[in-house]
């Protein structure tokens, strides 16, 4: 078996759990997705998780406001969705393999529903699991990545079609 495509696995895992309705309807998401040491992949990584949020919420992103930038080694997003949902997403470069100041790949997801919350924390790769951290993504992800880049360039929220 090859390396796990981590973000794809994560998207499906959340989707399956949401389907059992234990937290009601998902309304907000906080995600910290710190998987890669290449700052050039920060935006695509965030665009990929934003695309997953679109499916978790069953709602289209309306606006994206981005802060930071690849050269600063982190990017943060505040996204509003057409159904009223909110996502705050961030990604930063991974510098080490453990301990304060030298964390390895790490993930925090807090999915807030109108009847409960779902929290997920992981250190992918820490227990020997082979994981492919580089996100794949289709046209939606690319569109979101362009919106993030535009927001970073203009310093304001970008509206998606």
């Amino acid at each position: 078996m090859g390396a796990l495509a981590y973000v794809e696995w994560l998207e499906k895992a959340v989707q399956r759990k949401l389907a059992d309705d234990s937290i009601g309807l998902p309304v907000a998401l906080r995600a910290e997705l710190n998987l890669i040491s290449d700052h050039g992949l920060l935006i695509s990584s965030l665009a990929r998780i934003a695309s997953a949020a679109e499916r978790w919420f069953a709602s289209k992103p309306l606006t994206v406001y981005a802060q930071g930038g690849a050269e600063l080694e982190y990017v943060s997003l505040l996204i509003k969705f057409s159904g009223g949902q909110t996502a705050l997403l961030s990604s930063e470069v991974v510098r080490g393999d453990g301990g304060p100041g030298a964390e390895g790949p790490n993930v925090l997801l807090l999915v807030v529903g109108n009847h409960g919350t779902m929290e997920f924390r992981d250190n992918p790769g820490a227990d020997g699991r082979a994981a492919d951290m580089e996100p794949a993504g289709g046209a939606e992800t690319q569109k979101l990545a362009r919106a993030i880049e535009e927001s970073l360039r203009l310093g304001r929220a970008t509206t998606l079609d």
Partner: protein, 385 residues
């Protein structure tokens, strides 16, 4: 024989406010004597009765006129927990009377009120403090890490503070909330603006961690996700903010009230610090023991018609609200009450860790958040006008 208390404390506004907790905090400190409960003349009958009730519970006198009480020479400091719209005005009267002021959060509902209070404190040379969480163990841990330099230069801070209170699931979903600016009303019996009452903790934490860096811009959104009460009052139960600070630093915040059973403890509390040399996630609920047993599961308290969202300690006590026991968090750093920290600052003749000037800065960022949520624009600080 213990020393005679050095500080006489006047409690301004009583029951069904956080004075129920702050008053006890001062009363528990051997440096203090609570002189009495007071309020301005002309408060309504309900407020007058609640003031009397706290005075009786604490077994201290009730003074019906704030100005008379402030003339007492045995009053050295005032703890002000009046309703949001009255708070800064009464705090200012206390400061102008030469008393140190301990303020509930948030400080004021307008920048004019906040600035006038800060000016009165400065002009009279009294000490001030606004209640926050900077004394909490998670905040102390964060400060130690930042000050150690292990993270290098801070670039970004992410804060999540969501309170597990209330009975959720009654707010209609499906479309974005329409926010209004400026916000008009703040005090309701069954709803609190959550950008107002919760982001204030994260905003003050961020400034405290960064050596009082000022906020330069705010982008925000507000929502109604959980409670019919908030929806009916047209105030948000959830908010998210993205801020820039002096020096190019950024911060993000989520804040809200999410429901009694939406967390195994008091609610998610995360602080992530990202610096030029490294980063760390501080979970306000770690280290912890996670306990599973055949004890009956925790259940929310019954709904109190006088306090449907269970804002206040007295109604929680009356309803038999039980603590959640699934997570046990042993003390990691010595805790010191916020009231004791204020007394320390007075005794030591130094500025408190969160002054009313800091509270005014947080007020400005929160007002900017409402403006941003209403317009969809990034709002620059300081606010115009």
């Amino acid at each position: 024989m213990p020393d005679k208390p050095r500080f006489g404390v006047l409690l301004v506004t009583g029951g069904m406010t956080h004075q129920e907790d702050y008053g006890l905090g001062f009363q528990a400190d051997p440096r203090c004597k609570v002189i009495g409960v007071t309020d301005e003349r002309g408060v309504d009958r309900r407020r007058a009765a609640l003031n009397r009730r706290l005075a009786e519970q604490m077994q201290v006198p009730l003074f019906p006129d704030l100005d008379d009480a402030l003339r007492r020479p045995d009053v050295h400091l005032a703890s002000v927990c009046s309703e949001f719209e009255r708070r800064a005005r009464l705090g200012r009267r206390c400061a102008e009377a030469g008393k140190h002021v301990y303020m509930d959060k948030p400080l004021a509902t307008t920048m004019e009120d906040a600035n006038q209070l800060a000016q009165a404190v400065r002009r009279r040379g009294v000490r001030s403090q606004m209640f926050t969480q900077v004394g909490a163990p998670f905040a102390r841990r964060a400060k130690q890490i930042v000050d150690s330099g292990v993270l290098g230069e801070l670039k970004a801070i992410h804060c999540d503070l969501l309170f597990a209170k209330g009975r959720p699931g009654s707010a209609p979903l499906g479309k974005p909330r329409k926010e209004h600016y400026p916000p008009k009303q703040f005090t309701f019996p069954d709803a609190k603006r959550e950008i107002w009452t919760t982001t204030v903790y994260s905003l003050t934490l961020i400034r405290w961690l960064t050596g009082r860096r000022d906020f330069r811009s705010v982008y925000a959104t507000s929502a109604n996700y959980f409670f019919e009460e908030h929806y009916r009052r047209d105030v948000e139960d959830f908010g998210a903010m993205a801020l820039t600070l002096d020096g190019g630093m950024t911060a993000t915040i989520t804040a809200g009230r999410i429901g009694w059973q939406s967390h195994r403890s008091s609610g998610p509390n995360f602080t992530r610090l990202f610096g030029s040399q490294g980063s760390v996630l501080i979970d306000g609920h770690t280290p912890r023991f996670e306990v599973a047993s055949d004890q009956p599961p925790w259940t929310p308290p019954p709904r109190d018609p006088d306090d449907p969202m269970s804002f206040w300690s007295s109604t929680g006590k009356k309803a038999g609200r039980r603590p959640k026991l699934d997570w046990y968090k042993p003390e990691t750093v010595p805790t010191r009450s916020d009231q004791a920290m204020f007394l320390d600052s007075i005794e030591q003749g130094k500025e408190s860790e969160v002054t009313v000037a800091d509270g005014a800065t947080a007020t400005e960022a929160m007002l900017a958040a409402y403006q941003s949520a209403a317009t969809g624009e990034v709002v620059s600080l300081p606010l115009a006008g």
